[in-house]
């Protein structure tokens, strides 16, 4: 197989010599065109500069599922980012090697190519910078990038994939980070019932879903706006507070008192699959979240003004809660979660 590839390269080399317009790399490893769903924002610049390629994505997916990224070979990215849960898990807080418990709820991985901020506190702005964090974090994989490179660089399958994706078999940290990001850029969810209704593909909302959509537009859309169902702002909405003294919300990044316990508004897409909810899984069900907002949230100086103006709550009748949940479930994308 290896010889065959080499021969192919030699052939291609000759071919390129005889024809200047010929581009062997794009022929060997074509770019994957990311279709921007209707109404979505533009792609991030890094999704263009580190555009997904056929083998880059294949390599990224393999790394994403490889438990050797963790110190004791027990945890892969995919251990916490499970496709059936829209690439999160069903735990309150993430659990790494040796049962170590992390600070926060695992965020889903979807529509990353369009996101300006990553993680609950938005500490990461460039997706390619993120894969190193779980690899080295004590409560997650507790490994190091040299350890990872050492484990995979002599693996025949990786040698082949690095070759195909990047033109030679050298395993570098940047190639690992770029290929994982490339894989994640392809995880686009925009084929839910909601999308089909909006695109008028012959599906319609039920009565309850229609009512839920109206309530959503009346009471939720100021934060869960755009087709990503988040305005990507940081807000303190008075949820129960994480007792871990490390937790400061957005102020961990900005060091501004105003940002204390502010978190990024989460997307509502595939919300049905991403329980429990809240930055450390405070709520087991969507109903619990709505009950909490209805009963009133914890007061704070920097509590979101929308809540403050409404008596620190979002009042909802039981029927409204039922309809809202019906609507939120129309954001479930069964293709995306592989069912």
């Amino acid at each position: 197989m290896k010889n065959f590839i080499r021969n192919m390269y030699v052939l291609l080399l000759f071919a390129s010599c005889s024809n200047d317009d010929y581009q062997p790399i794009s022929y060997e490893n074509p770019e994957i065109v990311l279709n921007i769903p209707e109404g979505f924002p533009d792609l991030n610049i890094t999704a263009i500069t580190n555009a997904p390629t056929k083998y880059g994505v294949e390599l990224g997916k393999k790394l994403f599922n490889d438990k050797r990224l963790s110190a004791d070979n027990t945890i892969a990215c995919a251990s916490c980012h499970i496709q059936a849960n829209a690439f999160t898990d069903n735990l309150t807080r993430a659990i790494g090697i040796e049962g170590r418990i992390g600070l926060r709820n695992t965020p889903p991985i979807q529509n990353m190519a369009f996101m300006q901020f990553y993680n609950w506190d938005g500490n990461t702005l460039v997706l390619e910078n993120q894969p190193l964090v779980p690899i080295i974090t004590h409560e997650e994989m507790d490994s190091s990038i040299l350890e990872v490179i050492g484990k995979i660089k002599n693996d025949q399958e990786y040698i082949e994939l690095f070759n195909k994706a990047f033109g030679d078999e050298t395993v570098t940290n940047d190639r690992i980070f770029n290929s994982i990001a490339q894989f994640e850029y392809t995880l686009i969810s925009a084929n839910s019932k909601y999308d089909k209704v909006i695109r008028e593909e012959g599906t319609t909302f039920t009565l309850s879903e229609t009512q839920g959509y109206q309530i959503f537009k009346d009471k939720c859309i100021s934060c869960h706006s755009t087709e990503l169902f988040t305005d990507q702002s940081f807000r303190n909405i008075g949820f129960p507070i994480n007792p871990d003294s490390e937790e400061a919300g957005r102020s961990r990044v900005t060091r501004e008192a105003d940002d204390y316990l502010r978190f990024r508004v989460p997307s509502l897409r595939n919300i049905e699959y991403t329980a429990p909810y809240g930055s450390f899984g405070q709520f087991e069900t969507l109903k619990e979240v709505l009950d909490y907002l209805d009963n009133g949230v914890i007061e704070a100086e920097n509590l979101d003004p929308i809540l403050k103006d409404n008596g620190n709550k979002i009042s909802l009748t039981e029927a409204e809660k039922t309809h809202l949940i019906s609507f939120m479930k129309t954001l479930s994308d069964t293709d995306f979660i592989g069912q």
Binding site: T46, Q116, V253
Partner: protein, 292 residues
């Protein structure tokens, strides 16, 4: 070609012999930085909550406190000649130009700079922390510093920020020994999507450049000077910029500051120990003396 290689080899051997016979001159071009971590004039002794040996300090606001752990990163070291010429010391190489000063490990209190050009030096500059361009936890480029900073008893990786912890202090305050925990580091980041050229930047830069005048010239080449640098942690709570009162909650009214991690108030401590970066470029540091 073969001959050329032989000559090359020969000249290398010759050089090797010359260097061997010239050891003294090389050593005389070493400069030792010695860090003396103090409360005022008293060198700090670490200790647990109930330790009787630990050095106790009282802040300007009357809070007694002592430390159990005390670490900080020094990097970007430059020596300045009498005529103003700056001699950078591996400033872009964390493996050979940066160190973690750890009060619990005596060997880390001295840092030797090698092969400093023969001259008289009147000033030293260094960074408290790691400048942003190098602060990426890049194990591939700087495996030795990465390993030293990441050791279990050092813990100077700030994983979530993919940077280094610049300072790590664990200790106790007030007579009932409440927990004091301070970690500092940079969170500064640029928006990759901003093509306007005025990149939106989020986060803070906790790196501080320190400039200290030497009371007597360090005469490198003639002798191997030792520069004794005092880091006065009395300034941690009672600094030139901020007078800090510690409290146990994140309620930061009354100008009080949370004692644990201090997410919102980290920069007050940074300004106190590292200076403000503009008007104050000494922070807690001063030169005790230069031994030639």
């Amino acid at each position: 070609m073969k001959n050329f290689k032989k000559y090359l080899l020969l000249s290398f051997s010759a050089l090797a012999i010359i260097s061997c016979s010239n050891d003294n001159a090389l050593v005389a071009n070493n400069v030792t930085l010695e860090f003396n971590n103090t409360f005022g004039n008293e060198t700090i002794v670490l200790g647990n909550a109930t330790s009787t040996e630990a050095t106790r300090n009282t802040s300007a606001e009357g809070q007694v406190h002592h430390f159990e752990e005390l670490k900080y990163v020094i990097s970007n070291i430059r020596l300045i000649k009498e005529d103003g010429t700056e001699i950078p010391y591996n400033v872009n190489d964390l493996d050979n130009g940066a160190t973690v000063v750890n009060q619990a490990k005596t060997e880390t209190l001295k840092y030797v700079l090698n092969d400093i050009p023969t001259a008289d030096y009147s000033q030293i500059k260094f960074g408290l922390g790691v400048k942003t361009s190098l602060n990426t936890l890049d194990e591939v480029s700087f495996p030795n510093f990465y390993a030293a900073a990441g050791e279990n008893d050092t813990q100077m990786h700030w994983e979530w920020g993919t940077g280094y912890r610049f300072t790590k202090i664990e200790g106790f305050y007030d007579t009932d020994n409440k927990t004091l925990s301070f970690h500092s580091g940079s969170t500064i980041d640029e928006d990759p999507d901003d093509t306007t050229g005025e990149s939106f930047i989020q986060g803070v830069d906790a790196y501080r450049d320190i400039t200290l005048n030497l009371p007597t010239m360090a005469i490198v080449g003639h002798s191997a000077p030792k520069i004794v640098i005092k880091a006065d942690f009395n300034k941690f709570l009672s600094g030139d910029t901020h007078t800090i009162t510690l409290v146990t909650t994140e309620n930061i009214s009354n100008n009080a500051t949370p004692s644990a991690h201090t997410a919102t108030e980290m920069m007050k401590f940074v300004d106190n120990i590292g200076g403000t970066g503009d008007t104050n470029t000494t922070g807690m540091f001063s030169i005790t003396n230069v031994e030639n």
